[in-house]
Symmetry: C2
Subunit: 387 residues, 2 copies
């Protein structure tokens, strides 16, 4: 039996709706046209490979982007980046070298942007948002460094991972350094409430990562266990990043909860798309190798779905490749074919859309404004990565 880590905050989480079409998922939010063009899963669950190809075809259209959000936050982001650069310094030269490698690799700064935009949405314009956005990014970077050690993965964002360049040792320790720096930034900011939220989130992230290790290589992992993992290891930091925006703006509890819910559901959607992409042709375009999760025997939602829908021969295939890690050259191709046969990627994307819809709905209580529109488009962007 799998023990699961549950976040303390509750935010209504309706059961999966993926088999009932996309009505709910596409209801609210802006730029619907772009994601609305994607064919929905049929109620029978039968989607031909041609349809899946059509999904990828859709990627050629101009996709939702983060431009609105980055434009809005340009000034703030420049200050956050400057602060990150300043605080990753150390007289021990290897620290800024290694931290700079992973921080410069960039990523989208999604989590700090969430804090910045949430604070602005709540009418906050002070310096705390800058300080705390940098702290959030440091926690994220520390997690990445430790995650790369853990996964022994070779590529991140198309670049060699820090541990591939310097070895595991410095990656663990520089992660610890950045994690400490995150707390130093929070202490300088001085909000015990923010410290409570982010120290709790950090503990939950670690629990989620350990839980992922436990479920890894276990084809008996079910959807609930998988969801518990990604809520903890990914979505919790998104939730905290949103929530602290309301906290520093000293907004009432419902706004805090709404921004936490926005972050949590966006984070779940983001991770679902990420897990789907690992088996997708889009992956190479994003600078990542296809099949990393497969080679590590990582049980993600596409696998859970395909395993449960497969016959005994297929299950033997999954057990051999993912539990025993006995893989031959053409096993990845066979895995991808099985995922398509059972619409596992397609349905994973459907679930992502469901959580994306929950994220958009969490913004309903806020008046229409550039920040709200930009956050809604960020949801579309995360989903559009999967098309």
């Amino acid at each position: 039996m799998l023990a699961i880590a549950r976040p303390r905050v509750k935010w209504g989480d309706p059961p999966w709706r993926f088999r009932r079409g996309m009505g709910r998922a596409n209801a609210p939010g802006g730029r619907r046209a772009k994601i609305g063009a994607v064919p929905a899963a049929t109620s029978t669950g039968v989607v031909s490979l041609a349809l899946v190809a059509a999904v990828h075809e859709d990627a050629r259209k101009p996709a939702a982007s983060l431009d609105r959000l980055t434009d809005l936050l340009r000034g703030d982001l420049a200050r956050v980046n400057a602060l990150i650069l300043e605080r990753m310094q150390s007289p021990v030269a290897l620290i800024p070298q290694l931290a700079g490698h992973i921080i410069a690799a960039g990523g989208k700064r999604l989590r700090p942007m969430l804090t910045l935009a949430a604070a602005r949405l709540c009418g906050y314009r002070g310096d705390s948002a800058i300080t705390l956005a940098a702290a959030v990014e440091f926690i994220h970077t520390a997690t990445l460094l430790h995650d790369d050690v853990v996964d022994a993965s070779d590529l991140r964002r198309g670049l060699a991972t820090a541990n591939a360049v310097w070895g595991n040792k410095p990656s663990v320790l520089v992660g610890d350094f950045l994690f400490s720096r995150a707390f130093q930034l929070m202490v300088e900011d001085g909000s015990l409430k923010v410290l409570a939220i982010l120290s709790h989130a950090s503990a939950v992230i670690a629990e989620g990562e350990v839980l992922q290790l436990v479920t890894s290589n276990d084809t008996a992992t079910d959807e609930a266990a998988y969801l518990a993992v990604i809520r903890a290891k990914t979505a919790q930091l998104f939730a905290a990043a949103g929530q602290i925006g309301a906290v520093i703006a000293e907004r009432p509890a419902p706004e805090e909860a709404a921004l936490a819910a926005f972050g949590l559901n966006l984070g779940i959607a983001f991770q679902l798309v990420d897990d789907m992409l690992d088996y997708s042709a889009r992956q190479a375009e994003l600078g990542k190798t296809v099949g990393d999760d497969f080679r590590e025997g990582k049980i993600t939602l596409p696998i859970v779905l395909a395993f449960n829908r497969g016959d005994e021969a297929e299950r033997r295939f999954w057990r051999r490749t993912l539990e025993d890690l006995e893989q031959s050259d053409d096993d990845l191709d066979r895995a991808i074919a099985l995922l398509h046969r059972h619409q596992a990627l397609r349905d994973t994307l459907d679930r992502a859309r469901h959580y994306g819809a929950l994220a958009r709905r969490a913004l309903d209580g806020f008046a229409d404004c550039p920040e709200r529109r930009a956050l809604a488009e960020a949801v579309d962007f995360c989903l559009a990565r999967g098309y």
Copy 2:
């Protein structure tokens, strides 16, 4: 050139006195008779192997112990242990399993005792000392877990290390979990000043560990660089553990500084003895293997001293074994013989005594009381491990 990590707080640190005999080191502090019986280094620096044997002979006498300190803190320690046990729990079962393994292995709880005793010495009797002592032990435990990953060491306190049992992955993540728990405890306690001290200490510890990686396998490491490493990776947490005792008691800055200085100098002495023991016959008695540092090519003070005092043939030996890590079966024996020939272990112990004396002197401003006597005896205990 080696960049070094310096603690921000200054506490007068006179240059090495080891060549001028032990007068200063043995001046203050209780139970002098026991450590006074150890022959001091001669001013010529020539100590025969017979004398070194006499040092070990001395170990048969009843040594200074931690009994006075543990007796004094028995009630507090029981509460700290209960809190540690409570807060290392998680629904993810592997976390308490792995954390329990390293925490149950025990160790001496030296750092939390330092917080408890410092608080009492300052007249404090509230709950914060319990909470923060547990936080300090969590930080220490997280560091141990990450250190074991880093060093690929096989034994700690005579037991298999967590990473030898479960692999590197969970050790990194459970370390992260305990580190987060430490901050959650501090947040519950609610002192931003304590949070500042311990988040700073955590960053310095990580810097020290990275600096150790940089100096490891480099026989050009000098004493100053070595000292910078152990100040950061070991002594900084001792210093913080002492200092926060005064902080929660709301004592004026000089008492804070005195208890930080006590912890810092005790920590340096402790690490020096530890590094000496790695080449000592006493090591096996303490449940550790001899020569771990040697096999890893770790450059500790005994090596620095022997390398600098050795001829070119000896330096070639050290470079081959520690830089190139080309070691044959009898190399450890030869290394130990060289360390003895150059009185490197003996002089390392002398330096430890010097820092022990500084630690005892830091207590001078406090009125005589059971806590002060117990802390002084803790210094003697740390030094006595080396006899």
